[in-house]
Amino acid sequence: MSVLVDIRHVSKKYKDAPRPAVNDLSLTIDTGDIFGLLGPNGAGKTTFISMLCGLFSANSGEIFIKGLTHKSNSKACKQLIGVVPQEIALYPQLTAWENLLFLGHMYGLRGNALKENIKHNLSILGLEANTHQKIVSYSGGMKRRVNLIAGILHNPELLILDEPTVGVDVQSKQAIIDHLKKLNQEKGMTILYTSHHLDEAESFCNHIAIIDDGKLITQGKTKALIEENNCQSIEEVYLKITGNRFRDK
């Protein structure tokens, strides 16, 4: 399998922060992986994702996405990425259709292809009947589903999901996970997934990395990671490695 994302000795320290948010982090994500990035609050996940998305650059190290860097070709790099933020990053006063049409255009999509794409995704995620309803009137689960569609409209090669199922009911959660698995299997979409739902991560991801204090603690195939650490689940591995200390005090 080819490497899609190659992170080499990346460090990032915010101004006035006592320690680096990301400290000499190196890892690779293969094409077609469902890669779980786990870690306690304040471990550096958000900083890492922000750098991967090209929001800001690292103090040192390099990030390659399909051989490209944000420094050398930011536009092409960003075109490869789809992002589903933890927040419902939609305009509440607009309908799902209007939101997706706008975001699709921002990715450079247009015309009937875009409209068909939106209809198809809304239909798969059970939102066809609510297409022209304002987002403000949607339930939490419905908003999450539209939030997901907004990130996959342009068929990205790398989909970054930040807590995609937080605060939703079991049905919505299942619909989202099923759709993501389908995208991975049918379109070969690589997924970078962060969550605090460790059981969900265990069942969903085929590869997991755990970071803490900005450093990579461990990574590997999900099952191998459980076996290597003589544990029953990823949650056990996680607690064994990261301990019980609060990180966000």
Partner: protein, 425 residues
């Protein structure tokens, strides 16, 4: 295409935000109506037909009647006649019931006629060579007194203006009385003559007009000041919804998503700017319509926008750019809605105050006049004054337009630098 959809999105968001729309359009309309009405009343109390005046007429003869008619004819006063003592009249004025009181003592007309007659007789005698009569006649140097009382709050300049007006009317009456006495004396001396009536109207009159550029006949008034002033205020007040829009996108993760898209965030910002600029121009047009059509319905003068429409559009667009640039800067720097609302509102009010929106700069103290030139609202207002009152062309308003554009570019540059070097660091 991206830009068009970005503008379309902003339009949809804006059109569905009823509270935001109310702030954007209703607030400035109400402000213009209320402030113009209030200021117009203030202007009228000093300038036009509403100075309350008390006349105590103990004379009830030609002088008092002519004086009253002349005062009425000036359309400067609301006249009330009362039979009071001088002391009572003074008390009425002191209480603030009237701005001015005129007490005309008993027999003033009769004494004026006698004095006029005496002076004319003396003059005629001196011509006829009867010098002894002139010498023997006791010199009458006393003057008749018409008492004026002024409210203590009256400004000195206003008091002088009123005194001069009344004095001029009395001088005319005096002259008429002298001419009358001369006519009578001449009739006595030349019983067969049939003299024509002497014209007593002034031989020299003043021709007044405002020295406006390009022969523009527009007269400044509260409407000509308040409509452009409060329109500019409203245009700059747009910084609050615009900043709120930017902060909301940042808080709900939309900005994060847009920043991860290829080259999209700048387009989104451009879309916002264009949308809010159009809103500013709609605001401007609406306020002009209020000045032209609504204010006259309320008894106020009609707004005259001069005849330099293209120049007016250039100034309005420049002011709209400056206002949106400011909104962008506030939205980028502020960390929360509360910060943006407070900072934006207070800053706009300060800019308005020093820029001459509330109180025109020409009545400001010298130090404030000098300070006013730092406010972009002052640049816009001066440009509008130029177009409305002086019929200025593009060349004359260019310095103001350049300053507004410079403000916009500095604000834009500041917000991009802050976003790049502070927010994304």
């Amino acid at each position: 295409m991206k830009l068009i959809y970005s503008i379309y999105k902003e339009y949809k968001v804006l059109i569905r935000d009823k509270a935001g729309l109310a702030i954007t359009f209703i607030m400035p309309t109400v402000l213009i109506l209320v402030i113009t009405l209030i200021q117009d009343t203030t202007f009228r109390s000093v300038n036009e037909a509403s100075v309350p005046l008390l006349i105590v007429d103990k004379d009830n003869d030609s002088l008092s009647h002519t004086l009253e008619r002349s005062l009425e004819g000036s359309k400067f006063f609301v006249i009330t006649k009362k039979q009071l003592t001088a002391e009572q009249a003074k008390t009425e004025i002191a209480k603030g019931h009237y701005f001015i009181g005129i007490v005309i003592p008993e027999n003033t007309s009769k004494q004026l006629r006698e004095k006029s007659s005496n002076r004319i007789s003396k003059l005629m005698n001196s011509f006829s060579g009867d010098s002894t009569a002139a010498v023997e006649e006791k010199q009458d140097t006393s003057t008749l007194r018409v008492q004026l009382y002024f409210d203590p709050i009256t400004k000195k300049s206003f008091k002088t203006t009123i005194s001069n007006s009344i004095e001029r009317i009395i001088s005319q009456i005096e002259m008429q009385s002298m001419v009358q006495a001369l006519n009578e004396t001449m009739s006595d001396n030349f019983p067969d003559a049939k003299p024509t009536k002497m014209e007593t109207k002034p031989l020299v009159s003043l021709s007044e007009e405002y020295a406006s550029y390009n022969n523009s006949p527009i007269i400044p008034n509260s409407v000509q000041h308040n409509v452009p002033a409060w329109t500019l205020f409203a245009m700059f007040f747009i910084c609050i919804p615009l900043a709120g829009n930017i902060i909301k996108e940042r808080e709900d993760g939309s900005a994060f998503r847009l920043l991860t898209m290829p080259g999209s965030y700048m387009i989104v910002i451009l879309g916002k700017m264009i949308t809010y600029m159009v809103v500013s121009l709609i605001q401007f047009s609406l306020m002009l319509c209020v000045g032209i059509y609504i204010l006259p319905m309320m008894g106020l003068p009609q707004l005259n926008i001069g005849n330099q429409l293209p120049v007016l559009l250039v100034v309005a667009s420049s002011a709209a750019f400056a206002a949106t640039g400011f909104g962008l800067l506030v939205g980028t720097i502020a960390n929360s809605h509360e910060q943006a609302s407070l900072f934006g509102a207070v800053f706009v009010v300060i800019l308005a105050a020093i820029g001459g929106v509330w109180v025109p700069t020409f009545v400001m103290p010298e130090i404030m006049k000098q300070l006013s030139v730092i406010s972009p609202m002052n640049w816009g207002l001066e440009a509008f004054y130029g177009i409305f009152l002086r019929n200025f062309g593009f060349k004359e308003i260019l310095p103001h337009v350049v300053k507004l554009w410079a403000f916009f570019l500095v604000a834009l540059g500041g917000s991009f630098c802050y976003q790049k070097y502070v927010r994304l660091k």
